[in-house]
């Protein structure tokens, strides 16, 4: 089954033209897809609501559609502005899925999902967004139309620029098209519900080192949820081994993934009403409970932890760094504290040079990701 999208869904020429104008006039560009993640990241130099710094917005929405999809090749190539809902539907129709199970926030596009590097509950068991990206077509900060990687599973020609685009928040280029590896959807999926002690993360540790068909593991209050996926035989036997109440309805996982679960709805209210902050904390699954007060929801067998807290950002960053992890603010900031774990020293310098190598004028999403990477003599020169 190959579906060829119509050409009037190809807006690459228009997007390249827009970037070229931005380069010529040295105007910062805010890259946007479905806008579902506008509240995430830093406000950014280019995000003033009145656009007072003269920045322009570049929307990928007119550049959409599936370019090619061949289930037997396990590869799909799509335009960045394709809505997640549409992409998931096409894959499901062929009995396949994106193995990194990305969140589907309202209106989200695949370009936005990859730029923000988002993965869902399956992540610790089957891999992350970047693991499944095979190739990209990108507009760099010089308005050049570049293609990296490809549609094949193994490719080591040139540096892996496609994967480094994932989670770069658009600061290394505008994603035009992406090729991803897809996998067959499991024959059966079910959820086990087990009683657990509050904050008992250590129970996950032995589980994830066993050859079990796990595809989700989370702890909400005093309940542990395990999701099993695979052939009917494998899932049933693992369910018997692990024990717990069996839930055939798996919608819980999507609600956590998409932040429609009660925890996240409550968090939204506390953020708006009480000035609390929601944090996403990435640590090793075996990292002990963190000394941060607030309400927790633990995903990824303890590798992704959500915290709703009143604590100041600096405390969160300090405690998380000590646990060899990193934190990201997941709600609109009440203050101008950074939204991402700050980079320091030689690592900051190296990352700034990487940014420079793609976007020497630092036009894309300036200030949105790690503002410390955007301070450069080049930017000064561009302004002059």
């Amino acid at each position: 089954m190959t579906s060829q999208a119509m050409d009037n869904n190809d807006d690459s020429a228009g997007l390249i033209e827009q970037v070229q104008q931005a380069v010529d006039s040295k105007t910062p560009v805010t890259v946007s897809g479905g806008g579902s993640k506008n509240a995430l990241g830093n406000q950014g130099a280019t995000q003033g609501s009145d656009g007072s710094d003269g920045s322009t917005t570049l929307s990928t929405l007119a550049h959409q559609g599936i370019i090619s999809y061949e289930p037997t090749e396990l590869v799909v190539t799509v335009r960045a502005g394709t809505r997640m809902v549409q992409l998931n539907e096409a894959l499901a129709a062929a009995g396949q899925m994106l193995p990194f199970e990305p969140p589907v926030f309202n209106g989200a596009t695949i370009g936005g999902v990859l730029a923000c590097g988002l993965s869902g509950p399956r992540r610790p068991f089957s891999g992350s967004a970047r693991d499944y990206v095979l190739g990209t077509r990108v507009i760099n900060g010089q308005a050049q139309d570049l293609a990296f990687g490809g549609e094949v599973m193994k490719n080591v020609a040139g540096y892996d620029v496609s994967r480094v685009q994932v989670g770069a928040w658009g600061t290394l280029g505008v994603l035009l098209d992406v090729s991803m590896k897809v996998l067959p959807a499991p024959e059966l999926e079910l959820t086990l519900v087990q009683h657990a002690n509050q904050g008992d993360l250590q129970a996950f540790v032995p589980l994830v080192r066993k050859p079990l068909p796990l595809s989700g593991a989370m702890l909400i209050d005093d309940t542990r949820y395990l999701r099993l996926s695979g052939s009917e035989a494998a899932v049933r036997s693992a369910a018997a081994e692990l024990g717990g109440d069996v839930l055939e309805d798996n919608s819980l996982w999507n609600s956590v993934r998409d932040h429609t679960h009660a925890f996240f709805r409550g968090a939204k209210q506390s953020v708006e009403g009480e000035g609390k902050t929601l944090w996403r904390i990435g640590v090793a699954d075996f990292a002990p409970a963190l000394e941060l007060s607030g309400e927790w929801l633990h995903e990824w067998a303890g590798g992704q932890r959500w915290l709703l807290t009143e604590m100041p950002a600096n405390d969160v960053y300090r405690v998380v760094a000590a646990a060899h992890g990193h934190a990201m603010r997941y709600s609109v900031g009440a203050t101008d504290e950074p939204a991402f774990q700050p980079l320091e020293g030689a690592m900051q310098n190296l990352q700034a040079r990487v940014r420079d190598s793609f976007d020497p004028l630092r036009l894309f999403n300036r200030g949105r990701f790690h503002p410390e990477l955007d301070v450069s003599s080049n930017v000064e020169a561009a302004r002059a």
Binding site: V156, D160, P342, V354
Partner: protein
Amino acid sequence: MSADPAFVTEASSDASILSQQQAHQRIARREKAAAELSQLVDPQAVLWSIEQLRPYESDGLTAMKATPLLVVLPETIEQVQAIMRWAHSTQTPVVARGAGTGLSGGALPHEDGILLGLAKFNQILELNPEQGFARVQPGVRNLAISDAARPHGLYYAPDPSSQIACTIGGNVAENSGGVHCLKYGLTVHNVLAVTIVTIEGDLLDVGSPGHDSAGYDLMALLTGSEGMLAVVVEVRVKLLPVPPVAKLVMAAFDTVEAAGDAVGEVIAQGIIPAGLELMDKPAIQAAEAFAKCGYPTDVAALLLCELDGIEEEVNAQVAGVSKVFEQANASSLHIAATEEERLLLWKGRKSAFPAVGRLAPDYYCIDGTIPRKQLSHVLQQMEQWSAEYKLPIANVFHAGDGNLHPLIMFDAGKPGELHRTEELGSRILQLCVEVGGTVTGEHGVGMEKINEMCVQFDANTLTQFHSVKAAFDPDGLLNPGKAVPTLQRCAEFGAMHVHHGELKFPELDRF
């Protein structure tokens, strides 16, 4: 591959082609560098006599040779840092080397540079079965990690056929794969973090013990970067539970094309085997003669299909693929009866390269990847070219991934035969690009496929690669001239096409 005889001869004969004066200057430079480096490491760890340098002249791609200024074998990270600072301040090129099993000339020395051998970094620093990881030095052999993990029921998944010898540092540099990467991924999917030394001598931790880290995903850039961006001095790998059950289905076919089509059908059934390997007749016969593993030798193609996981699942999948193979007209079907037999059948596959090596004085291994649906087309075209060039080709490859390894058999002793082999290899790689694939799936570009990179990437993209390199290594001191061709070189390669390889290349310029 470089159809580049000028480079080979100039490089290999060291002083003989250089003028007397140049040779003297070189010796003086070598002596000075040796004296300076002997201040930084044990003088015994600085090799600089021609006899000592000989073993380091090439990696697994023996057609290309060069003598480095000297070889230095540090044993601590501090020494690596000091060496890098020295190289940076003296603007001396640095080529890192693991076990030297690379097949693309990635560890080919630079004549004016030092070869940084990491063989002494051979310790497993930590193996944590509870937390599922190992921290190892870069010179640790791939198989040594799995051997150490196995008593705990764990292993390191990527298993290149060279795993007895190749190092994890080399694996990271090449993003190596193995026969099991269809299901378990490549090096990039199995390495959590690395510690690197930059050309300035800075020590940086990249990646994290968790699932992601702040800032850009530099792990993605470093993995597969062929020693062009930094020197890896420590690697943290993920250990996976050994699957409780593994079963191997061996199916024989009357044509290679039928076997190729069966591969696509397996995937279409929603089954992802742990490994799915294809061998053609010359490869089967060579492997059987070498490993005596029980392959049928009168068939055109064999598929080795491994299913692993929980017993119930594996049984269902074995039934599933068996049905697919029957429907694809397999002439015979065999399921390894015992664990010994399963390992023996794999042994044949894993020793296919050296086995083919016994059929001809030399062989040349190609490493293109193509979309699976192009398998029959590309295999047929290769057969035709093989006849045209009068050079036999054996095929043994990662069919599930579409990663081809045609082995061209030749005799380097016959005048012009290496050159024709390289030309045939280059045509095959260009065909891979034409059908939507790539010039290298897992062996890297190195020096070997530098020209074919010009076919795969346009000038702007190559320039972007150079900018990435410059972000790490502004002076272009790490492994200069490899992996990404200069635009000038591509212009010359274009000319070569017109003149069928008669043009000689000037010495590579440094980026």
